[in-house]
Amino acid sequence: MSELELTLDDVRRGMIPAHIYNDREIFELEKERLFGRSWQFVAHESEVPQSGDYVVRRVLEDSFIISRDDQGEVRAMFNMCLHRGMQVCRAEMGNATHFRCPYHGWSYRNDGRLVGLPFHREAYGGEAGFSRKGQTLLPSPSLGTYNGMIFISLDPEAPPLDEFLGDFAFYLDYYTKQSPSGIELRGPQRWRIKANWKIGAENFAGDMYHTPQTHMSVVEIGLFREPKAERRKDGSTYWAGKGGGTTYKLPEGTFEERLRYVGYPDAMIDRMRATWSADQCAVVGDSGFMISAASLFPNLSFVHNWPRVEDSDDVLPFISIRSWQPISENETEVVSWFAVDKEAPEDFKAKSYKAYLMCFGSTGMFEQDDVENWVSLTSTAAGSMARRLRLNSRMGMLADGSAVVEPLSGDEFAGPGVAHVGYGEYNQRHLLDEWANHLERPVTKSAGVEFGATKVEVGS
């Protein structure tokens, strides 16, 4: 067995070789075999509402312009001039009809079409020498949307986004479709942490166990109402399709009462009732679980929480979406958006935004302590001792692999996938199993892309 096979084997047993959180070779493999073909969230349609609006987003080192063209269609185009490779857009956001390369002046419509090529006739002999017609900035090899969320994949053979999401889409709706209009995104806040990207994804996927310890301070200051955060062990974790998350157990009550308990106003609750499927409503109303954090493989996470934002007993829910963008094996750019239902009352939107700022993001009081842990873990994982230590990630499993607690039945948990009550590292294991599946599978080389040149038959 190769060293990689041994590592992946250990990971699949739930015994994680600690060095995978800070290992250059592993990171090179991740770039090629994982990020080279996974679906990556880059923007939400609400970030480019008008024709000509654009944002520039990266997938690792690749920069993409996400723009809404004059026909209203959203495009994802590789931000590199076809001529000499200069970035054609050097802003992060704005509105433009064209992107003009500052180097030699080639210009492209906001749908990517090459429309301006200085001295086309004199320099290239016109269309005969350089066929300008039909040339565009390289489109993202794959593009898909779900509830207005724009995903791209560098793999032209990527499975359709819906197929990839699978049953996780059921849970995605709680975060991104609380009304027919869906969400609007603000931000993102971006900051870099000296931590491996996998740690945040694992934490959001299923780590209910850290809440009472890591986040003790936010309970002590009254930001978080759930007593001592101990409520977490009464919650459940679920894994469905390519993602999974955590929930809180809600006090007894109806669908409406339980949503009121976490701070939603009645008008929003009515829209949720009308928008969600019977099963989606039943997870809240019958099973009594409220979604909290979640991760979609490989590096997109969600959080829904309900802190106090004023000196009162009222709580206010907020939603954040974040991508853990890898910079290297030991550095991650956190790209964190605040999300809110488009149809929510303005006053709710303002307070929900406040709730987000107080809890998560660059200044959030929950997140501050998370990152401290993850940075420390990452730096410790760099050494040779970390190559010996296997971290035990088997919570919820006995030595023979049988379950500490049985999965919830359909009567106890109305959502798809497999759910368990209480602490367990089921989801972290699911996430790393997917990771191992990608890392062991070599990629086929993508064909090069040429343009403009007409093939000349040699010797004819």
Binding site: A91, R190, R192, I193, K194, A195, I221, Y353, L357, T363
Partner: protein, 196 residues
């Protein structure tokens, strides 16, 4: 003449409605002006409080209607008319939320600052402006924050410009509004468990 400078405006925040709208009037005051001298001393004294993480004393220097606001800087084309992310910020604070942040540091479980960071706020380029209200001054400054944690990590820096509104009250001069123009669109610091 064009300028790349776009002022920060509390009214562009969803939470800035309560903020004072007082603006600077005229040119900066001469450095020998008593109002400048007192403002200069105020921001220097405050920097020492922040370095020492004496946040309870710092909180006492803030008015009840403070708007403490650091929008997200974004790179935009010259002439775009904006250089911050609409409707979003890093800090968008009132007295209550700042008091929760300070209260958290006072618990024994704010792990990100235990052990504490070593902080140094370098404050410079201070200039003071009168306003239409004799009891209010606008103060510009530049701040460079050096933060060091532990022994193996590299330090982190934040560079920002600040525009403060100082107000004379029965408790002395207090900070009534702070606009922080951070100089990076992507922050190179693990979190903002600090104040600028």
């Amino acid at each position: 003449m064009t300028s790349a400078y776009i002022p920060i405006d509390s009214r562009r925040s969803p939470l800035g409605g309560h903020a004072s709208a007082t603006e600077r009037a005229g040119r900066s005051l001469p450095f020998a002006d008593e109002r400048h001298l007192l403002a200069h001393q105020w921001v220097v004294d405050e920097a020492y409080l922040l370095d020492q993480q004496d946040y309870e004393s710092w909180l006492d220097l803030l008015t009840e209607d403070i708007h403490y606001y650091m929008p997200i800087k974004v790179t935009t084309a010259l002439g775009a008319g904006f250089d911050t992310a609409p409707g979003m910020a890093h800090f968008d604070e009132n007295k209550y939320s700042l008091s929760r942040r300070v209260a958290r540091f006072a618990t024994e479980h704010a792990w990100t600052e235990d052990p504490p960071s070593r902080l140094r706020h370098f404050v410079t380029n201070i200039r003071t402006f009168a306003t239409d209200d004799a009891d209010e001054l606008v103060v510009d400054s530049a701040v460079l924050l050096f933060r060091s944690r532990g022994d193996v990590r590299e330090h982190a820096l934040i560079s920002a410009g600040r525009e403060d509104l100082l107000r004379r009250t029965d408790d002395g001069w207090l900070l009534a509004r702070r606009h922080i123009a951070i100089d990076e669109s992507v922050i190179r610091m693990q979190n903002l468990a600090i104040f600028l």
